[in-house]
């Protein structure tokens, strides 16, 4: 059964259709690639799924409930967590603090209790889990460095670490390997596979097809705001429309 259903999502910015009737499903436990050339509407789609934008029409069904138009923090609470395309971090905090901040939903104490009678036990537990996450992503050695001083590859990994701290059921990554060299890309893709193997469903936006082709279980291809293909990597590789979208003008001649 589909964990997340995107149903006929349309989004207009003024007169421009960023997304037209896009429809697909995300199955539990899979690693879904969402690819397409620049400007295809991938990030807009994420923004709609996570509540950052409201769509012009259409619905998002998560575990049988329509979550379209809900506030972002509510959607996160339900289990859909995203990362951001440009590396958004809490720049002036250490890597460890970043991940601790990501654990917001794990805290149960209210305002007065957390100010005057903070639970040491809870904070210790969160710090321990944060270290585990950092270790999982190979960041433990830089845990005390300020986020803004980290090298690019580490920053991207830290973005994933923060998202993991929010305990996602579905983790939506926006171009997690952009700007990485092939080696870093391979490492990141391995990490993502391991996250999937821990039972987290993953969605990955990428415009670099090669990076995701070998790892993804299924792929959805967007072009000019429309879904032009969906299927396993082998099918996508042979799909005429996809080739045309990527190689473009030459074929059309």
């Amino acid at each position: 059964m589909a964990l997340l259903e995107v149903r006929r999502i349309t989004k207009y910015f003024g007169g421009l259709a960023a997304l037209k009737e896009v429809e697909f499903e995300v199955h539990k436990g899979e690693l879904l690639g969402i690819i397409g050339p620049n400007g295809a509407g991938k990030t807009t789609l994420y923004n709609i799924v996570t509540g950052f934008y409201k769509p012009t029409s259409g619905s998002i069904i998560f575990r049988g409930e329509n979550i379209v138009g809900q506030r972002m923090d509510r959607i996160t609470r339900k289990g859909i967590v995203r990362t951001w395309q440009t590396t958004v971090l809490f720049e002036n905090m250490s890597a460890l603090e970043n991940v601790i901040a990501g654990h917001h939903l794990s805290r149960k104490a209210g305002f007065w209790k957390s100010v005057f009678f903070p639970s040491r036990h809870e904070e210790k537990e969160i710090a321990k889990r944060s270290i585990d996450i950092l270790e999982f992503l190979g960041l433990v050695s830089v845990r005390n460095q300020l986020a803004r001083s980290l090298p690019h590859g580490y920053k991207r990994a830290l973005g994933v670490a923060i998202a993991l701290a929010a305990r996602p059921d579905i983790l939506l990554l926006d171009e997690p390997v952009t700007g990485m060299n092939p080696e870093e890309t391979a490492t990141m893709m391995k990490i993502l596979e391991r996250i999937r193997d821990r039972g987290v469903t993953l969605g990955i936006i990428e415009h670099d097809v090669r990076a995701v082709m070998s790892t993804c279980d299924r792929i959805v291809v967007l072009n000019f705001g429309q879904k032009i293909a969906e299927g396993v990597p082998q099918e996508i590789q042979r799909n005429k429309d996809v080739i045309q979208a990527y190689l473009g003008a030459e074929k059309r001649k």
Binding site: M72, D73, W84, E91, M93, H104, L105
Partner: protein, 328 residues
């Protein structure tokens, strides 16, 4: 971080000042300093949550008027109306914050400024209850506190000094706990990235309103004190310049040093005009130069100065200091 011992020393020194230097003028300056410190602490709190509060003076005015009016018109004891005025100001701050915290950047600055001006203009216009631009004269002194043996009368500067010191310590203690708690981490998170905070499940608006409300509460307390200390109220006390001074105090004191920055900023903003009393018209220029200097060369403000200087001292100085500390 400053150690517990040095904090205790500073507090003891502040408590001892009326004995060490019982000069009314000095005490008056210190009282003003503590008021501005409380206001600046609130400003820095809102700044930590990522917004530049430009209307602190408005909440200061609300606290002052509510407290003075409940005492004078309703005959409530000052000791009841002091906290009540703080809470009422906090509730008003909650309402205004719920509106303005949806905006950011320049819009937020303009809106907070506009709200503060609207509050001042309401006071100017409303002559029957709020006294209009003529103000309210003869705000009574706080009721005497009967203790077994002695009764504390509010005569001279000393009792006022201890009262405002007490309020400042309450603010410092509360905010210290707040910054150390998970709430402090959340506020710093939303100050650095709204989007990322939201995507880890933080309801950004609520926490920002919370910071705004707490700042309003303490500004209201400072106002309640101010009204009964100075003895009369007039809308001219609460112009946009006061909000601006609080902002200058926050930046010069150090926005990243949540507590020390506020207190040092409060000192700066009050002590500078007193020191340069002979050149009064030049004081805004001094503020301006100080502001630019701090922004260009000392981003952490005056509170960050020890951390900046220490690594640059010649080795023999640092070693001597370390040895001295070891001996002590």
């Amino acid at each position: 971080m400053v150690g517990r011992v040095s904090i205790a020393l500073v507090v003891c020194f502040a408590l001892a000042i009326p004995w060490l230097m019982p000069d009314p003028y000095l005490l008056h300056v210190l009282i003003l300093t503590y008021i501005y410190s409380i206001l600046t602490l609130g400003f820095i709190l809102v700044w930590t949550a990522g917004r530049l509060h430009f209307g602190i003076a408005g909440f200061w005015a609300i606290g002052a008027y509510i407290c003075a009016l409940t005492v004078m018109r309703a005959g409530v004891s000052y000791w009841l109306s002091l906290p009540l005025a703080g809470i009422a100001t906090g509730i008003i701050g909650l309402g205004i914050g719920y509106i303005v915290c949806r905006t950011g950047g320049g819009t937020f600055i303009m809106l907070t400024w506009a709200f503060a001006e609207v509050i001042r203009l309401i006071i100017v216009t409303e002559t029957t209850v709020l006294g209009g631009s003529a103000g309210i004269m003869g705000v009574p002194k706080p009721n005497p506190i009967p203790l077994p043996g002695v009764t504390i009368q509010f005569i001279g500067k000393v009792p006022y000094y201890y009262l405002i010191l007490f309020l400042l310590l309450v603010a410092v203690f509360f905010l210290y706990r707040l910054y150390k708690s998970p709430i402090g981490l959340i506020l710093r998170s939303i100050g650095q990235s709204d989007h990322l905070s939201e995507s880890v499940g933080i309801y950004v608006l609520w926490y920002r309103v919370l910071a705004f409300t707490i700042a309003a509460f303490f500004a209201g307390l400072a106002g309640s004190f101010w009204a009964h200390y100075i003895g009369y109220l007039c809308p001219d006390h609460f112009t946009v310049m006061e909000s601006l001074y609080v902002e200058v105090a926050g930046i010069i004191g150090g926005l990243g040093n949540f507590i020390a920055g506020g207190i040092i900023g409060g000192f700066f903003i009050v002590v500078v005009p007193e020191v340069f009393r002979a050149f009064k018209q030049w004081v805004p220029v001094i503020y301006g130069v100080a502001l630019i200097t701090v922004i260009l060369f000392l981003r952490g403000g005056l509170a960050s100065l020890p951390g900046v200087i220490r690594p640059r001292l010649p080795k023999w100085v640092t070693e001597r200091v370390r040895k001295g500390n070891g001996a002590a």
